[in-house]
Symmetry: C2
Subunit: 256 residues, 2 copies
């Protein structure tokens, strides 16, 4: 491995040096290089390894300690107490039924910030005309605000189950009452920087990475019946895909 940390840390950058050092140390924790329960190098060893001041190392360790990843013990050293890799707890499934079950199992509490009736947002490709009921919500689980959602439902459907849509997560309600309207759906996941609303709502700093899932469901007539734009703090996210190379369509054609 080619590593040149001194140069990389010193590179012209607008981030404070201690913040960069924190990210570098955090990556070592995430990779499991320093396992939970083990002792990490001393302050002086880190000073020597990275060629930075004691104050810089101390500030980086302070932040890791505040995150609950390490604990400093007087005279005994600094120990890993949190599993940095375990932070990715929010599994975003890649099949529909798992997605519905996932939302049901999270035991979401939500706060509605706003709602109304209007057209679809511009970012939805191949729009349908017509009116949509929409709701803007913050979803909480376990005292963590884990997503901010803007969800649209075709008004003719929303009107039929208004009470349910207003009281529950939207997707399970769609799935329970309007399954025959759910013919196909796509989800596009991208990573972007948190803007002011997302940052404040999700307890992040502006500019922190957030994952956006844009889900669009259509009925058999290609009419858009459901749209959700969901923002998650990217650090929580984990997307697991299971492949079946042996049984996928196209396999035979590609086999030699």
């Amino acid at each position: 491995m080619i590593e040149n940390l001194h140069t990389a840390l010193r590179k012209q950058s607008r981030l404070p040096l201690s913040l960069k050092l924190k990210y570098v140390l955090r990556a070592r924790l995430e990779r499991g290089e320093w396992a939970v329960g083990t002792r990490i190098p001393t302050l002086l060893e880190l000073v020597a390894e990275y060629g930075v001041s004691r104050a810089t190392v101390r500030a980086a360790l302070d932040e890791l300690e505040q995150e609950g990843l390490i604990q400093r013990t007087r005279g005994k050293g600094t120990f890993v107490i949190g599993d940095a890799a375990k932070e990715h707890w929010l599994m975003l499934p890649t099949d529909w039924q798992s997605l519905v079950r996932h939302i049901e199992q999270l035991k979401v509490r939500f706060v509605t910030l706003d709602s109304g009736v209007g057209p679809l947002p511009l970012e939805v490709p191949e729009q349908s005309a017509g009116s949509y009921w929409w709701t803007l919500r913050v979803n909480w689980t376990d005292h963590i605000p884990y997503s901010i959602n803007t969800v649209y439902v075709a008004k003719r459907l929303a009107d039929l189950k208004k009470a349910e849509f207003e009281a529950e997560p939207v997707l399970p309600v769609m799935n329970r009452y309007f399954r025959e309207e759910l013919h196909s759906a796509t989800q596009v996941l991208t990573i972007r920087a948190a803007d002011a609303l997302a940052a404040r709502t999700l307890h992040l700093e502006i500019g922190t990475a957030v994952a956006q899932a844009l889900r669009v469901a259509r009925n058999a007539d290609q009419e858009v019946v459901y749209v959700a734009r969901v923002l998650y703090p990217a650090k929580y996210l984990s997307v697991e895909t299971r492949f079946h190379p042996g049984i996928e369509p196209g396999t035979l054609a590609n086999t030699h």
Copy 2:
């Protein structure tokens, strides 16, 4: 929408104010609020809207201009010239054949940083014993270093097609010659902060969001035959999933 930008921008934070403003303006570009070809508000309008100094607005606009998103024209105003939403060009497929085709179509050039023989990395769950050939590469396409890959192949397979594995992207070679060894595979995608190696290699700042795809393929005996740990700059990434709510397994059981 509840927006309180002044407060959010002013919040205690270690990021420079102009950097936070840049992220906020960038989010408006990404959402399509300011479309390509249109004029964005003037410097003084932005000063008034966000309650920050002219120097801060100017610095934020400088960075957006350097990114090729806006262009300032003397006397005529500032115009949107780049599509911020289009940056997410790196599609990561969620089915195996598309993934293989995707790698073939990217016309990857790569630079091998290192390679060797050894055991699997710790982060692979349910390890197999045995020896693996591994290679550490930077992949380029279109003059962009778009991923840094550590790939492992069971040594008994790597030895059979050594020249091909060394000269080509690994996954297509696996798929071409060892299809019968590819029984099942998983991919877990998480977002993390770039460490020094990833930052330097992918031309990012330390701490910038990178997406990690950890792919593990097993044969019918559950032996791990292929592992890839791939890091992408998160800003490029787009993961599209197609759902078929009507025909997925479990559908009938859940229908009322």
